[in-house]
C-alpha cells in the first residue's frame, strides 16, 4: 500500500467531513517552498580567521592522513604544482570537485607541515567556503588579505619548532628505548655483581669516632637526626661473606649461618664483634654486592637488620639502635660509652660519629 493510501485512510479515520478538507490542505502545502535564507555568517576577514582557528583545532582522522599523504605525493609533488595559492587553485581546479571540509583541512595541515604556507592558507579559505556554503567564493580582497597574513614564510624559529614537533614522537620513542636498555643493562650488571663484593671495601678505614665528654651528648638527645648505639664490646671486626673469603677465627657455627644468608642477601660485609659467644652486628657495609659505605647510616643499619633476620638464629644478633628520644634516654642510662651518629651520613664521615664517655 502506498503512502498516499495510508494518508487518505488516516484522514478518513478522522471523520469523513474532515478528510477532504485535510487532504486539500495537505495537497496545497505539500510543496517545498523557496525557503528564506537563514542568517548566513558575515563574510569578513575576522570571521574567516576565527573559523580557521576552529578548523585547525579539529583533529584529522588517521585514515584521512594516508589519503592526503598519497594525494600530496601523487598530485601536488608529482605534477610539480607551485606551493602557493596558485598551486592550491590548480589543485582545486583539477581535483576540488566534491571536496569536503575535512579533506580540505587535512590538505591545509599537510601543506603547513611541508612549509607551503600560502598553499595551506588557500586551502583553509576553501575549507571555510565549503563549511559556510559560500557560493562563488569569498571576496577576493578578504581572500588575499588572509593568504598574505597566514601565508607568511616561516621564521627560522617556527621552522625549527615545526621540525621538532614532527620528530617529537621519534625522539621520545628513542629516549624510552635507551632508558629501557640502560635499565636492563643495570639490572643485568647488578644480577652479575650480586655475589661479588665491591673492591672499595678493601680500602675502607676502620670507624674512628670523635671522642667527646659526657656533657656533649645533650645535643644528641633532642636532635632527631642523631641516633645512638652502644659501642661494640670486644674486638670490632669486619666479616665478608661472598663465598670466597675465609671466615678466619669465627666460630664454625656462626660462619656457616652467615654464609647461608648469602643466598638471600647476596655478597655482604658487616661490622660486628664476638660477644658472649654471639656475633653482634652493628652495621652492614655491603649487601647484594652493593657498597653501602657511601650510603646513609640508616641504610647500613637497615641492611644489617635484614641480614640478622635472614640468619634467623640467636647466635647472630644486632646492636640496638636508639632512634627516638625515649630510646636515647634509655641508652644514656646504661653504663659505659655511647656511640652517636647522624642517620644520614656516609660511613666514617667527619664529625658524624661521636663517642661520649659514660657517667661512671
Amino acid at each position: 500500500m502506498s503512502c498516499e493510501t495510508h494518508r487518505q485512510k488516516a484522514f478518513a479515520a478522522l471523520g469523513q467531513s474532515n478528510a477532504a478538507t485535510l487532504e486539500a490542505i495537505y495537497q496545497a502545502a505539500a510543496t517545498l517552498p523557496t525557503l528564506p535564507a537563514t542568517a548566513s555568517p558575515k563574510l569578513s576577514l575576522a570571521s574567516l580567521k576565527d573559523s580557521v582557528k576552529t578548523l585547525r583545532a579539529r583533529p584529522v582522522k588517521p585514515s584521512l592522513w594516508r589519503d592526503v599523504d598519497e594525494r600530496w605525493q601523487n598530485r601536488v609533488v608529482a605534477k610539480g604544482m607551485p606551493l602557493d595559492e596558485h598551486g592550491a587553485a590548480m589543485y582545486l581546479r583539477d581535483y576540488g570537485k566534491g571536496l569536503g571540509v575535512e579533506k580540505a583541512c587535512a590538505l591545509a595541515t599537510k601543506a603547513e607541515k611541508r612549509g607551503a604556507m600560502r598553499f595551506a592558507a588557500a586551502m583553509w579559505v576553501k575549507a571555510y567556503e565549503i563549511q559556510n556554503k559560500v557560493s562563488g567564493g569569498l571576496p577576493i580582497l578578504i581572500k588575499d588579505a588572509f593568504i598574505t597574513e597566514f601565508g607568511k614564510p616561516e621564521s627560522d624559529e617556527a621552522m625549527l619548532n615545526r621540525l621538532k614537533d614532527a620528530t617529537k614522537d621519534i625522539r621520545e620513542k628513542r629516549r624510552e628505548e635507551r632508558a629501557a636498555e640502560r635499565e636492563e643493562t643495570e639490572s643485568a650488571q647488578a644480577a652479575a655483581n650480586r655475589n661479588v663484593l665491591p673492591s672499595s671495601l678493601n680500602n675502607l678505614p676502620p670507624l674512628s669516632p670523635t671522642i667527646l665528654p659526657t656533657s656533649a651528648r645533650a645535643k644528641f638527645l633532642t636532635d632527631a637526626t642523631w641516633w645512638g648505639q652502644l659501642p661494640l664490646s670486644g674486638e670490632a671486626r669486619r666479616v665478608r661473606v661472598d663465598g670466597k673469603t675465609d671466615s678466619g677465627d669465627m666460630p664454625a657455627e656462626i660462619a656457616a649461618r652467615l654464609k647461608a644468608a648469602q643466598k638471600s642477601c647476596g655478597a655482604y660485609a658487616v661490622e660486628g664483634a664476638i660477644s658472649d659467644g654471639r656475633f653482634v652486628i652493628a652495621r652492614a657495609l655491603a649487601i647484594e654486592g652493593r657498597d653501602l659505605a657511601s650510603a646513609t647510616e640508616r641504610a647500613r643499619i637497615e641492611a644489617a637488620e635484614r641480614i640478622v633476620k635472614e640468619v634467623g638464629h640467636e647466635s647472630v644478633a644486632l646492636v640496638e639502635t636508639a632512634r627516638t628520644a625515649s630510646q636515647k634516654v634509655m641508652l644514656t642510662k646504661q653504663s659505659g660509652e655511647q656511640l652517636w651518629f647522624q642517620a644520614a651520613c656516609a660511613y666514617n664521615a667527619p664529625n658524624c660519629y661521636i663517642q661520649t664517655k659514660g657517667e661512671k
Binding site: 495510508h6 494518508r7 479515520a13 490542505i25 517545498l32 537563514t38
Partner: protein, 167 residues
C-alpha cells in the same frame, strides 16, 4: 536524514516535528497502525513534511486533537495541569541535536522516562526506535524537554493546594 537536524532550515525542522505529531494522531485512528512513510528514519520527504505541518496547524486550530484522536500530550498535560498545545510547542522547538555530550546523556534519560510514561498510558511514539529503545538524538532532546515541562507542571500542581491551605 541525510544531514544533521541542526543543518536543516528552521522551517523544515519545524515541519518534521509537526509531522511526527500528526503521525501520533494517525497511530490513534489507524487500526493497523500504518504510517504514510517508507523511509528508514521515519520522516517523509521535505515537501510532504510541509503538507503534514499544514495539517497539524489545522488540527490544532480546529481543536481536533482530542477524544478518539487524543495523543499522549493531551493525557499527560491534563495530569500535570498544563495546556497540551504548550507541550506540543515545547516538542517542536526542541527538535534539535544535543549541543553537548552532557546534554545528550540528559536527553536520553529524559526520553526514556517520557517513553515509559507513554507506554504506561497506552500510547506509541511515531518516531522509529533504535534497538536500545530510544529514537535518534534529536527526538530524544524533544522528548526530554517535554518530560521536563511535565515534571515541572506536576511539581507546581502538587505545591499549589498546600499553599492555598496555608493562606
Amino acid at each position: 536524514m541525510a544531514k544533521s537536524v541542526n543543518d536543516l532550515h528552521p522551517m523544515l525542522r519545524e515541519a518534521q516535528a509537526k509531522t511526527m505529531l500528526v503521525f501520533e494522531v494517525f497511530l490513534r485512528v489507524q487500526p493497523e497502525n500504518k504510517l504514510p512513510v517508507h523511509s528508514k528514519d521515519g520522516i517523509p520527504k521535505p515537501d510532504n513534511c510541509m503538507g503534514y505541518a499544514a495539517v497539524w496547524d489545522k488540527l490544532v486550530a480546529e481543536d481536533m486533537v482530542q477524544g478518539q484522536t487524543a495523543i499522549y500530550l493531551n493525557a499527560a498535560a491534563e495530569d500535570a495541569g498544563l495546556d497540551w498545545r504548550e507541550l506540543a510547542q515545547v516538542f517542536i522547538e526542541n527538535y534539535r541535536e544535543p549541543a553537548s555530550k552532557a546534554e545528550a546523556i540528559k536527553a536520553s534519560a529524559g526520553a526514556r522516562l517520557y517513553l515509559a510514561d507513554m507506554k504506561r498510558r497506552g500510547f506509541r511514539p511515531a518516531t522509529p526506535l533504535t534497538p536500545d529503545g530510544l529514537p535518534v538524538p534529536a527526538w530524544q532532546v524533544a522528548y526530554a524537554a517535554v518530560h521536563e515541562s511535565l515534571r515541572q507542571g506536576a511539581k507546581a500542581k502538587v505545591k499549589t493546594p498546600a499553599m492555598a491551605e496555608a493562606v
